[in-house]
C-alpha cells in the first residue's frame, strides 16, 4: 500500500516531466528528420530564405570561446582570492558578482550602449570596438565571469590546502611542483571553461540588443529570427537548436573528461581546511584594483548610464510613450510562474530525497539537461508542441507561464536542494513515528521548516521571470508583452530614455516585491525568535 501510494504520488510528476520537457524538446529536435512532427500547415513552412546560417554557428563558437578565454583566467584568479586568501574586500567582490549575475544581460548591454552613444565617445576607437565583436566578447565575458568565479572557487575548495602543501613538501623540483599544481588546477579550469562557454553560446539578451544592432548573426538570435519572422522556418530553427545542444554537450563532456582524467588527485578522505593566510601587500593592491575595476565596469558605469538616461532625454529620436502596462503583466506572470515553479521544485526535491530509483534519476537528468537546453530552445519547442489542434495553447498567457515554470524548475531544484536538505527526512519520520497526525505534521513540522526555502525560491524565480527574455520573445500573447520584451523593443529602436525608465521602474518594483516577501518571512519567523529570548 505504501509502495502503491508512492507510485501514485510520483506518476503525476513523471507525466508533468514528460509533458513539459520530454515531449516538446524531443519533437523539436526530431523534426528535421521526421517532417510529420511539424505543427499545423499554413505557417509558411519551408518557405524561409534564412536557411541554416553557418555564419551564425561560426560566430557563436568564436565569440563563445573568446569570452570564455576572457572570463576563465579572471574567474580562476578571483576564485583563488576568495578561497585561499583573507582579504577585507571579499564582501565587495561577492556583492559585485551577485549584481552582475542578477542583472539581465540586455540591461548591462543597454548601459554600455548608452555610454558609447554619447557624442564625445561615439566616434572614438573604443566605441568602434564596442559596436563590434569585441563589445560582444567583453559583455559575454562579463556575464560569464560570475559563473567562472563560482565554479573556480568550488574547485579551489575541492583541491584543499593539504594536497597543495603535500606537493610543496614532497616535490623538490620547482618545475615538477608547478606541474603537479597545474594538473590539480585542470579540473577547476575545465569546469569554469565548460560553464562559461555554455552560458555564452546560450546567451540571448546580448545578441538581441548589441548583436542585432551591429547585424552580427549568432545562433540564439538566428533561432529567434526563424521563428518570429514570416515565413516561419521550424526546420532550420530545430537544426540550429541542435547545434546549441551539441556545442553545450561537447563543453560539458570536456568538463567531465577533465574531472575524470585529472580529478583523481582530488579523491581523498575527509578534507580539512586550514585558515587561509592574509593577502600580502602586493596581492592586496592587485586584488583591490581588480575588484574596483570589476565593480566599475560591471555595475557602476552601466548603472549610472541607465540612471542618467532615465533622468535626461538622451536619444536623438522623438520620445515615445513608456509601456508601463508591461510591468503589470510581468508582475502577474512572474508571481504565478514563481509560485508554480517553486511548488513543483519542492515536490520534486522531496520526492527525490525519499525515492531511491527512477524518480531520483529523473530529477537529476532534468536538472543536468537544463544545462544543454537553453530557454530559447525550450520556447521554440513549446511553439511547435503546443501549436496543433490537440493542445492549441500557443499565444495564450497559460503557455507562457508553463514555459517559465519549465525553465525555472531545474534551476530551483539545484538552488533549493541545499536549504531543503536541512529539513532532513528523519524530521518528518520522527513526527510520523511519534504519532503526529498528518495535519499536525504539515502545520507544525513541515510548513515552518519549508516556509523559508519556499519564499527564498519564490523571490529568486520571481526576479528571474520578471526580466526573462528568450521565452517571453517567443511565447508572449499578442498585446500582453512582458517587460523584457518591451525593453528590448525600445532598445532595438534606440529609445534609450524610455527603455531606461522602464528598466528602473521594473527594478524598483521587483525590489519592493522582494522586500515585501522578506518582511513576510521575518514576520512568519518572529514568534519563534521571540520565544527564544530569555525571560
Amino acid at each position: 500500500m505504501h509502495k502503491a501510494r508512492r507510485v501514485a504520488l510520483s506518476s503525476p510528476l513523471f507525466l508533468v516531466f514528460a509533458g513539459l520537457f520530454v515531449y516538446p524538446i524531443a519533437r523539436l529536435l526530431l523534426m528535421p528528420w521526421i517532417p510529420a512532427l511539424e505543427p499545423a500547415e499554413g505557417m509558411g513552412l519551408h518557405a524561409s530564405t534564412l536557411g541554416l546560417s553557418p555564419v551564425a554557428i561560426a560566430n557563436t563558437v568564436r565569440l563563445g570561446l573568446a569570452s570564455t578565454l576572457v572570463a576563465v583566467p579572471l574567474g580562476l584568479g578571483f576564485g583563488w582570492l576568495l578561497e585561499r586568501r583573507q582579504w577585507r574586500g571579499k564582501g565587495l567582490i561577492m556583492l559585485t558578482l551577485w549584481l552582475i549575475f542578477l542583472t539581465p544581460s540586455y540591461l548591462l548591454t543597454t548601459g554600455w550602449q548608452i555610454v558609447f552613444s554619447q557624442p564625445m565617445l561615439h566616434h572614438g576607437h573604443l566605441a568602434q570596438m564596442f559596436f563590434g565583436q569585441a563589445g560582444i566578447i567583453a559583455l559575454l565575458g562579463l556575464k560569464g565571469f560570475p559563473f567562472a568565479c563560482l565554479a573556480a572557487r568550488g574547485s579551489w575548495r575541492a583541491i584543499g590546502t593539504e594536497i597543495v602543501d603535500a606537493a610543496r613538501i614532497h616535490v623538490a623540483s620547482a618545475w615538477r611542483r608547478r606541474g603537479v599544481l597545474l594538473r590539480l588546477l585542470l579540473p577547476a579550469a575545465g569546469s569554469a571553461f565548460a560553464i562559461v562557454f555554455i552560458e555564452s553560446i546560450q546567451e540571448f539578451g546580448i545578441p538581441a540588443t548589441l548583436g542585432a544592432q551591429i547585424h552580427l548573426p549568432i545562433i540564439t538570435y538566428a533561432i529567434y529570427e526563424r521563428l518570429a519572422m514570416t515565413p516561419v522556418d521550424f526546420t532550420h530553427a530545430a537544426l540550429l537548436s541542435w547545434t546549441l545542444v551539441v556545442l553545450a554537450a561537447g563543453a560539458a563532456s570536456v568538463h567531465f573528461y577533465l574531472g575524470r582524467r585529472f580529478g583523481s588527485a582530488l579523491v581523498h578522505g575527509r578534507q580539512r581546511q586550514s585558515a587561509p593566510p592574509s593577502c600580502s601587500r602586493a596581492e592586496g593592491a592587485v586584488a583591490g584594483v581588480a575588484a574596483m575595476a570589476l565593480l566599475i565596469i560591471g555595475i557602476a558605469i552601466p548603472g549610472t548610464a541607465i540612471i542618467h538616461a532615465a533622468l535626461w532625454q538622451i536619444d536623438p529620436y522623438a520620445s515615445v510613450p513608456v509601456p508601463w502596462h508591461t510591468l503589470l503583466y510581468s508582475t502577474l506572470y512572474a508571481s504565478i510562474a514563481a509560485l508554480l515553479a517553486v511548488s513543483v521544485a519542492m515536490l520534486l526535491i522531496s520526492g527525490q530525497r525519499r525515492a531511491r530509483g527512477s524518480m531520483a534519476h529523473m530529477v537529476d537528468a532534468m536538472t543536468l539537461g537544463n544545462m544543454a537546453i537553453p530557454g530559447l530552445v525550450l520556447g521554440a519547442a513549446y511553439i511547435i508542441a503546443f501549436n496543433g489542434s490537440l493542445l492549441p495553447l500557443y499565444g495564450t498567457p497559460g503557455l507562457l507561464i508553463i514555459a517559465y515554470v519549465a525553465a525555472q524548475v531545474p534551476v530551483l531544484v539545484r538552488f533549493l536542494q541545499a536549504p531543503m536538505g536541512q529539513v532532513h527526512v528523519s524530521m518528518s519520520d520522527a513526527a510520523r513515528l511519534h504519532g503526529m497526525p498528518w495535519i499536525n505534521r504539515a502545520a507544525d513540522v513541515q510548513a515552518p521548516l519549508l516556509l523559508s526555502p519556499f519564499l527564498w525560491g519564490w523571490t529568486m524565480a520571481f526576479g528571474q521571470v520578471f526580466f526573462e527574455l528568450p521565452i517571453s520573445e517567443l511565447l508572449y500573447p499578442a498585446g500582453r508583452a512582458p517587460v523584457g520584451v518591451a525593453i528590448v523593443t525600445l532598445n532595438q529602436k534606440m529609445h534609450y530614455t524610455e527603455e531606461a525608465r522602464l528598466a528602473l521602474a521594473g527594478i524598483a518594483l521587483s525590489l519592493v516585491i522582494a522586500g515585501l516577501v522578506a518582511a513576510i518571512l521575518r514576520f512568519a519567523m518572529a514568534p519563534q525568535v521571540a520565544r527564544e529570548r530569555p525571560a
Binding site: M1, H2, K3, R356, G357, Q422, H424, S426, M427, D429, A430, A431, R432, L433, H434, G435, M436, P437, W438, N440, D444, V445, P448, L449, Q528, R531, E532, P534
Partner: protein, 354 residues
C-alpha cells in the same frame, strides 16, 4: 513473557540487492535487544521496517500480536499508528521548535498539563535548563538527551534506537548508555537498539541479535554470544583476533590444531575433522605456561591498567595477543591457549574475508 514484536521471514531488497533475507526475530515486553552488525548488514533497515518507515517485500511483522506489515495480504500500518518511540542517529529534532516544544509536540493535544509532563521528562534526562533553547544551540549529547525525552514522551511500550550514541564522545556515550538503560527499565519499555559498538551489546543487552549481510546469524544472551560465537565475525566482535588457516585434527580424543609445532585443543564451529578452517583466538584465553607454544614477543603496549603483548608464533601470519600484568621480561615465552577462547570456523563464505 508476551511477544511485543514478532518478525517472520522478513525480506527487503533495494534495486536488485537483497538487504534482508528471511529474518525471524522476536522481542518480548520489557526486553532490551541490541541489534549489531557491520555497515550494510541491514540493521537500520530492519529497525525502519519495525517503525513503518519502510515496507517489507515479504514476511510478516506483528506488534502486540497485531499484524502491521504483511505485503502478501496487503496489510501495512503507518508509523503514526504503531505507538512507538524512536531515537535517531542524527537526533532529528525539529529545529524551529524549542527543546520543550519538541517534547510537547509528541504528547497528545488533550493530555493534561502537557507542559509539565514535557518539562519533567527534560529534567529527567538532565536538560531541563535547556528547555527554552532551540536544538541547534545544544551540544550533540544534549540534543540526543532531548531526543530520548521525546521518544519516551508518549510512553511507548517499544523504543527504537538507531545508533543513538554513534556521534558522541566516549564520556557522553557512557553516561547516556546508562541513562537509556535505566529509563527504559523505569518506563517498562522494550527496546530495539541498533549499534555497531560491542560495548553497547555488553552493557545494555538482555539479548544480542547479530545481522550479517541481511541474515540473522545469532540471537542470544550476551554470555551465550561470548561463549559460543556462531560466526567468525561474531568471534571478532567478542574480541577474538587472528584469522589464520589451520587444519582441524584429532589427538587424544580431542579436536585441535597445530600451533607452532604444538597441538592446541580448540572449539570447532562448523568445521569437521580433517578440514581446513580459519582460527581466531581471544587475548583473555592466552597466558604464559611452561608447556605452551613457543612465541616471540613483538611489541608490548600499556592499555588501561594492563599490558597488551603481541606475540609471533612460527608458521602463523597473524600475531597473537595476551593481556599481562607487567611487561614480559624475556623476548620469548611459552603460551598456553584456553580451548574456550580459540575458535575455528569453515574457511568459506564470509569467514574467509573477516
Amino acid at each position: 513473557m508476551n511477544a511485543l514484536l514478532e518478525m517472520e521471514g522478513i525480506g527487503k531488497r533495494y534495486g536488485g540487492q537483497a538487504v534482508l533475507a528471511g529474518v525471524d526475530l522476536c522481542l518480548h515486553s520489557g526486553e532490551f535487544v541490541v541489534l549489531i552488525g557491520g555497515s550494510g548488514s541491514g540493521k537500520t533497515t530492519l529497525l525502519r521496517l519495525v517503525g513503518g518507515l519502510e515496507t517489507a517485500d515479504r514476511g510478516v511483522i506483528r506488534l502486540r500480536s497485531e499484524v502491521v506489515d504483511a505485503p502478501d495480504v496487503g496489510i501495512w500500518l503507518p508509523p503514526e499508528r504503531r505507538g512507538l518511540g524512536m531515537v535517531f542517529q542524527d537526533y532529528a529534532l525539529w529545529p524551529h521548535m524549542t527543546c520543550l516544544e519538541n517534547v510537547m509536540a509528541v504528547l497528545p493535544a488533550h493530555a493534561p498539563s502537557r507542559k509539565n509532563a514535557a518539562m519533567d521528562l527534560l529534567e529527567q534526562v538532565g536538560v531541563g535548563a535547556m528547555a527554552g533553547r532551540r536544538p541547534q544551540h545544544l551540544s550533540g549529547g544534549q540534543q540526543q538527551r532531548v531526543g530520548i525525552a521525546r521518544a519516551l514522551a508518549a510512553k511507548p511500550d517499544l523504543l527504537l534506537l538507531d545508533e543513538p550514541l554513534s556521534g558522541l564522545d566516549v564520556d557522553t556515550r557512557e553516561h547516556l548508555r546508562l541513562q537509556i538503560r535505566s529509563l527504559t527499565r523505569e518506563y517498562g519499555a522494550g527496546a530495539l537498539f541498533v549499534s555497531h559498538d560491542p560495548v553497547d551489546a555488553w552493557r545494555l543487552a538482555d539479548r544480542v541479535v547479530v545481522l550479517e549481510h541481511g541474515v540473522l546469524t545469532q540471537a542470544d544472551a550476551p554470555e551465550k554470544l561470548y561463549a559460543s560465537p556462531a560466526t567468525a565475525r561474531i568471534a571478532r566482535f567478542t574480541g577474538a583476533q587472528g584469522g589464520f588457516g589451520a587444519l582441524l585434527r584429532r589427538q587424544d580424543e580431542r579436536l585441535g590444531i597445530d600451533l607452532g609445532g604444538n597441538f592446541c585443543p580448540v572449539t570447532p564451529v562448523g568445521v569437521k575433522e580433517g578440514e581446513m578452517g580459519i582460527a581466531f583466538i581471544r587475548p583473555s584465553g592466552v597466558r604464559p605456561h611452561d608447556e605452551g607454544v613457543t612465541a616471540e614477543l613483538l611489541h608490548c603496549a600499556f592499555e588501561a591498567g594492563s599490558y597488551r603483548a603481541y606475540w609471533r608464533i612460527a608458521g602463523i601470519s597473524e600475531p597473537l595477543c595476551s593481556f599481562e600484568a607487567a611487561p614480559p621480561a624475556a623476548p620469548t615465552a611459552r603460551l598456553h591457549i584456553d580451548p574456550a577462547h580459540i575458535f575455528i570456523y569453515p574457511m568459506q563464505g564470509e569467514n574467509a574475508y573477516v
